[in-house]
Symmetry: C2
Subunit: 318 residues, 2 copies
Amino acid sequence: MQISFEKTAALLQAANDIVITSHVSPDGDALGSSLALAHHLLGQGKKVQLLLDDDLPLNFSFLPGFELFERPVEGIIREADLLVVLDTNLDRTGQVAAAVQAVQLNMDHHISNDLSAQYLYLDPSRAATGELIFEFLTFVQAEITTDMAICLYTAIATDCGFFRYSNTTPFTMQAGAALLSHGVKPNLISEALEIKPLATVQGIAAAMNTLQLFCDGKAAIVCVSKEILATALSTEGLVDFVRIIEGVDIAIVLKYVDDTTSRVSMRSKYTDVSRIAMDFGGGGHARAAGCTLHVSIDEAISCIIPAIKKAMGAVENA
Amino acid sequence: MQISFEKTAALLQAANDIVITSHVSPDGDALGSSLALAHHLLGQGKKVQLLLDDDLPLNFSFLPGFELFERPVEGIIREADLLVVLDTNLDRTGQVAAAVQAVQLNMDHHISNDLSAQYLYLDPSRAATGELIFEFLTFVQAEITTDMAICLYTAIATDCGFFRYSNTTPFTMQAGAALLSHGVKPNLISEALEIKPLATVQGIAAAMNTLQLFCDGKAAIVCVSKEILATALSTEGLVDFVRIIEGVDIAIVLKYVDDTTSRVSMRSKYTDVSRIAMDFGGGGHARAAGCTLHVSIDEAISCIIPAIKKAMGAVENA
């Protein structure tokens, strides 16, 4: 059942023992929204537990209260007054939704929300769940502490690429302005989030040496081999160095998974890459999509380059 | 003489033939502020000329009116009612200040402004001259068109690192919010500005292969050799890939100038690098400084690494 801020406030008001959770593979919005709401409810004297069924990305350890996140204990059912699920459906919370017996309140901004929650506050016009929480806290006239502001700013800024993505609205930036006035230092947050391990930076540089352009420079591919991955562990952010090349429409990162499995990630400016991904059994959005090929990385190159040439040719001839 | 917005408005109102200029090595704030004010004055039916004594960075060619910038013609003195100098002192306008005979109005946000202009509107609390112009246009109740909003947003966003630098204030973000409501698409602007030529991306990747860490990983240096520079032309942005490495305080880019000249650029999180630069006859700020060494690039490495070790040791022992 979709509900208003009034009903959301009433549900939170009535509950004394509250569990907050979010999606696995947590991002800044998942972590920041959860912590901001937790700080607010703790300030109201309520018992609050933060459960998250995944490892936490350590770049976010600057978030006030980061140490409060716990993983659910297998086989133990936790009774509570209210389970608040933020930034996702209940079915993407790992073991948490099943491990907590409580009234369910879901707050989300994803248009893809499955509407299955007992109580749902959904606003797909918002760039981040952090925006919803900020709006809700303003609605209930909550005092926004600096700790809460840091969490909310991080939630919002990470979901809209620090106010650069197309989902950024005037409200997004007004929320940012208000949070700065509550003591947020944007430089400290952006610096903490851009830090990468040395091995990752070296891995990205090594992968960039494999750069190949084709389709008259409109497509660019880099390969993350078994060797690169062995030392780099992650090459997160690599695609950003490819997609900024002048004239490139489609940026492709091809990554070793095992000797007979390769992962293709694509980003584009104009061409619908989800259609290319779907041809290989993958999916995604028009501007960001991916697929898994059950061949070696060398064979994967031989598959993906002709497919992209075909897709780009189709666009040119359209 | 420092003046108010009232007096600024009166000066602009009284002038019919107006020349607008800004600093050499123009950045987003110089170009965006100049164009936004030009659009406003052209809308008032005034004659406006945009003079800029330098090449223009083509990443900014999306700015509405970009084609209006002209270079001053040597030896020709231009008479006008008003010369508006934005985002700098008069002495950083190349030949423009000397080539235009007019009443001088200077609008700037740099605390380092030399206060030499005939009329000066200065507000060092603002993150960008674009913020001043936005504030001024709001003061005179000007209609802000989408073209003007794009110019002002670009001016502001580039001077505060897309709202990530420490100079970003609540007002900065409120201005951003207002400009988005006038039709700015932040994703299109940020995408246009992050584009780099293929050769530059390849040059950055090649330079990253020279990465060396020292001082227990607290300092990191990369070298841009004659060979890298020959094909890359520019490696602008290289330092950003060095300073994000986990644990790195000082990021150093050492660049070939000629066989007996090398340029050192330093960025830091904690250590005052301006003092290191000053020891070699250079200068800058505590967190960003540089110097030129009159030795080969190999000899420069041998000079700069011990100097940085000494500076960091001094901090550790302090």
